[in-house]
C-alpha cells in the first residue's frame, strides 16, 4: 500500500515537472524573441545617431527597461526550469553551493513578503553530494520557511557552508531586524516541524545538529569525494 502511494506520488511529481519544464522552455523562446526584437531596435537607433529624433532618450530608457525585465524573466524561467527538471533523476550528484543558491533564489519572494532577506556564504571549493536533488531543495526550503515565519521584518537568514573531512555542513543562522540573534533551532525544533524535517532528512541520508552559541541549526551531508 505504502509503495503504491509512493509510486503514485512520484508519477504526479514527474508529471508536474515535465509540464512545467516544457512551459518554461516555451517562455524562454518568447523572451528570446522579445530580446532580439529590442536588440534590433537598439541597432537601428545606434545606426541613426546623427538623425534628429526628439524622443531618443525616452526611447532608449524604455528599451533598456525592456532588456532588464527580459533578463529578469529569463533568470526566473531558468530557475523554475531547473526546479522542474529536479525530479528527472531520483538520485544524482549535485554541487551543494550551487543547489543552495538555487533554493535561495526560489525562496526569495516568500522571504521578501515576510520582510526577511536571505544570504548564502558558499564554501570556497565545490562540494559534491549524491542524493535526491528535489528532496534537498525541499528540506532547505522548509528549514528557511520555519525560520522566516517566526522572524520580525528587516531580519536576515544566513546559510553558511563549511566542510569537515567527508562531511559538509549547512549552517542556518538568523538575525532579527534589530540586530539581535534569533535561535534558528527554536522554530525548527517545534515538535511537528522537527518530525517533518527529521523524516525528510532521513530520506536524504543526512542528519541535523544544533549549536548553542551562536544559536544555529546545521544540516550535515556526506560529501562525495
Amino acid at each position: 500500500m505504502g509503495a503504491a502511494i509512493l509510486q503514485k506520488d512520484l508519477r504526479e511529481v514527474a508529471f508536474l515537472g515535465r509540464v512545467t519544464a516544457a512551459f518554461t522552455h516555451e517562455m524562454k523562446n518568447v523572451l528570446a524573441i522579445i530580446k532580439e526584437s529590442v536588440g534590433l531596435m537598439e541597432d537601428l537607433l545606434s545606426m541613426s545617431q546623427e538623425s534628429p529624433f526628439p524622443y531618443r532618450e525616452r526611447f532608449d530608457r524604455c528599451l533598456t527597461s525592456i532588456q532588464t525585465q527580459t533578463n529578469r524573466g529569463v533568470e526566473l524561467s531558468s530557475r523554475l526550469n531547473r526546479l522542474a527538471h529536479s525530479p528527472d533523476e531520483a538520485v544524482a550528484r549535485v554541487e551543494l553551493n550551487d543547489t543552495l543558491e538555487q533554493v535561495i533564489v526560489l525562496s526569495g519572494r516568500f522571504a521578501r513578503l515576510r520582510g526577511v532577506s536571505l544570504e548564502l556564504h558558499p564554501h570556497e571549493e565545490a562540494l559534491n553530494v549524491v542524493l535526491s536533488p528535489l528532496r534537498l531543495q525541499m528540506v532547505v526550503f522548509v528549514c528557511l520557511e520555519c525560520c522566516w515565519e517566526t522572524m520580525s521584518p528587516g531580519g536576515r537568514i544566513c546559510l553558511m557552508v563549511t566542510r569537515a573531512g567527508r562531511e559538509a555542513a549547512v549552517r542556518f543562522f538568523c538575525q532579527n531586524g534589530d540586530g539581535t540573534e534569533q535561535d534558528a533551532a527554536g522554530p525548527l525544533s517545534e515538535a511537528k516541524t522537527k518530525q517533518l524535517i527529521q523524516e525528510m532528512v532521513s530520506d536524504l541520508d543526512c542528519r541535523i545538529a544544533w549549536s548553542a552559541s551562536p544559536p544555529a541549526f546545521h544540516l550535515i551531508l556526506p560529501v562525495d569525494i
Partner: protein, 127 residues
C-alpha cells in the same frame, strides 16, 4: 563580402528572422532554415562554415541534424542555441561534436564571438 558562411536553424520563425537581420548588420549573410529537414537539404547545396542550431524542433530534432551534418561534412562547426537545454542534452550535443552550447536568449556580441571562434577552429582543422 560576408565574413564566412553561416546557417541559422530554428523553427521559431520570428526569432531566427530577427537574429538573421541583426547578424546582417554585423557583416554576415546568414542563410535560414526553419526545420531540421530544410537544414539538411541546404547543407547538400551550400555547405556553411558555421551552423547555429536549435535543439527541439518538430520533425527532425537538432541532435539528429548535428549528427548528420558532422557525418556528411565534419568541418562544419555547430553552435547549439536553445531554450530547451538540459544538462543531458548539452552532454549529448558535445559528444556529437558541437563546438559550443549556448542558452537562449543570448547576447549578440557573445554569439558573434563564439561564431568567430568556431570559424577559426574550422580553418585550423582544415589546415
Amino acid at each position: 563580402m560576408a565574413k564566412f558562411k553561416v546557417l541559422l536553424v530554428d523553427d521559431e520563425a520570428e526569432f531566427v528572422a530577427t537574429l538573421a537581420e541583426r547578424l546582417a548588420m554585423r557583416g554576415f549573410a546568414p542563410e535560414v532554415a526553419f526545420s531540421g529537414e530544410e537544414a539538411i537539404a541546404l547543407l547538400a547545396r551550400n555547405t556553411p562554415d558555421v551552423m547555429v542550431l536549435d535543439l527541439k524542433m518538430p520533425g527532425m530534432d537538432g541532435l539528429e541534424v548535428l549528427r548528420r551534418a558532422k557525418k556528411s561534412c565534419p568541418r562544419i562547426q555547430v553552435i547549439i542555441l536553445t531554450g530547451h537545454g538540459s544538462e543531458r542534452d548539452e552532454e549529448a550535443a558535445r559528444r556529437l561534436g558541437a563546438f559550443e552550447h549556448l542558452n537562449k536568449p543570448v547576447d549578440i556580441k557573445e554569439l558573434v564571438g563564439v561564431m568567430e571562434q568556431a570559424f577559426d577552429h574550422c580553418r585550423t582543422t582544415e589546415s
